[in-house]
Amino acid sequence: MNVRKNAASLSTLEWERLLGAIITLKHTFAAGSTVSVYDQFVAIHMGVTALTGAQTVDGAHGGPAFLPWHREYLKRMEQALQSVDPRVSIPYWNWGLGGDAETVPLFQDARMGPMGSGGANGNQVMSGYFAQAPNAFNPLGWTIHTALRPFPGAALQRNSSLDTSTAWPDPNWPGPWSSATAITTILAQPTFNLFRPALEWPPHGIVHVRMGRHMTAMTSPNDPIFFLHHAQVDRLWARWQQTHPGSVNYNPLGTGGTGHQLMDDIWPWDAGASQTTAAVGTLLPSYPSTDTVKPVDVLDHRALGYCYDDEPNCPCPDAAVIPPQPGAIHGEAAPGLDIPDNVPQGVVSNIQIAQAGSLADITVGVDITHTYRGDLRVTLVAPSGVTAELQSPMNDPTPNLQRTFGPVSSPDLANFVQGQISIQGQWTLHVSDNFSRDVGRLNSWSLDLSAS
């Protein structure tokens, strides 16, 4: 069983895996396609809003199929991510608690990235995995596909302020994002035909609107926060289903037309019964005519192979999200070393690995407190003597360096894996401060290795 966890509870290692898998899909292309696997998902979400043929209305919004369509869509994205790293699940952004404690931690460089702060309109995301400019988190940068831009510009855009509490004068939603009381009211709706619209608007819609810019368009999956947001929507549907076991739990009134009924095929998994616009059609993956999905197929989320970490009888999250890998090896050190100011020799710390084997995967976690992390150079030396530069000195005044590095974020680590270097022996972390004035301390670091 695949466990979807609260995003606020993910470890740094889990974030690294999730974000690494997203970046990989963004740069993975099906044979003969110029559209990445990730961007194909964006195109599907755009395409479902403009259908002709068997379906003539939006197949995923404003009707009962809103919930089953997005459940299937997220399941397929999760499967794609797991094709990169089987340990990854889509976490949920629990905006239902209404507190910034669930939300603010997501918008950090090492997680989902900050809100907009740059560019001509001040809305461009400027750092982290989803910044356009290549950086230490994402050496390839995050660029919106030219055919999937709702407005000019290649950079991901979000509202320029996280605190939008005064920008939405809806008396039902006074909080920054949502209200636990309102969620309770929605979950108490007695029938699906009342529950679905109550969830779709305002709570689902208001998160899109408050995130702003790319999240406000039908190409909203351009912003990967989309998937964490919709995992929460899906979780609330699952919870409603569990608390209404005696009721007819899908569209008993038969509203919504073709594509929204229990036994209708939902586009694009409908054997070609409906078509989207020609412009979007060229961006889509092709599905075999046998790959069809109906709402009835997705009513039981557990039958689809996943559950949410706070529902009854869901397996231990840690065990499920990070299953023991064959050959997995962990080492850690907490040297607590002061890093001398402007001394290239710096400090070193060692981890001994006793097991033999060839490196198949590697994650390095570092915890350094520092008043100006741009002063730092961090290098990992493998037992064979080959080195990987994890962090180079740069103009980055942000304090502290507390993150993980893996083959996606570090080309040198990717070379370690590609070279299948020996893991046995002494691994050394070298940390130095290369400019005067600011200082810091190497608190701890860790190595997670997979060997073949």
Binding site: G62, G205, H208, G257
Partner: protein
């Protein structure tokens, strides 16, 4: 030249009739942030236009609220509100 005068009068009448036809289906209109919003009666349902261009709208299957892929994720109480959101979005660009 009495004949010529008659022709001119006929043309003026024809012009007037054409102008009347163009406005007959407009149910409501207003100006918002410099753009003209018109709600136009159509055979199946009313349509809203911004500066003469139709905005794609539909109704939520269960609540009847207006929705639009041109200004998504909000449920609107009227076609005019949809049009205003589309204009707002365009001006934000």
């Amino acid at each position: 030249m009495p004949g010529k005068k008659k022709t001119a009068k006929k043309r003026a009448t024809k012009k007037k009739v054409t102008a009347k036809k163009a406005t007959v289906n407009v149910v409501r209109s207003l100006t918002y942030r410099g753009s003209k919003i018109e709600v136009v009666a159509k055979a199946v349902a009313n349509e809203v236009q911004v500066d003469g261009k139709a905005v794609v709208t539909s109704r939520d299957a269960d609540t009847g609220a207006y929705i639009s892929r041109e200004a998504p994720y909000i449920h609107y109480g009227s076609l005019e509100e949809v049009a205003q959101a589309v204009i707002d979005a365009k001006q934000e660009e």
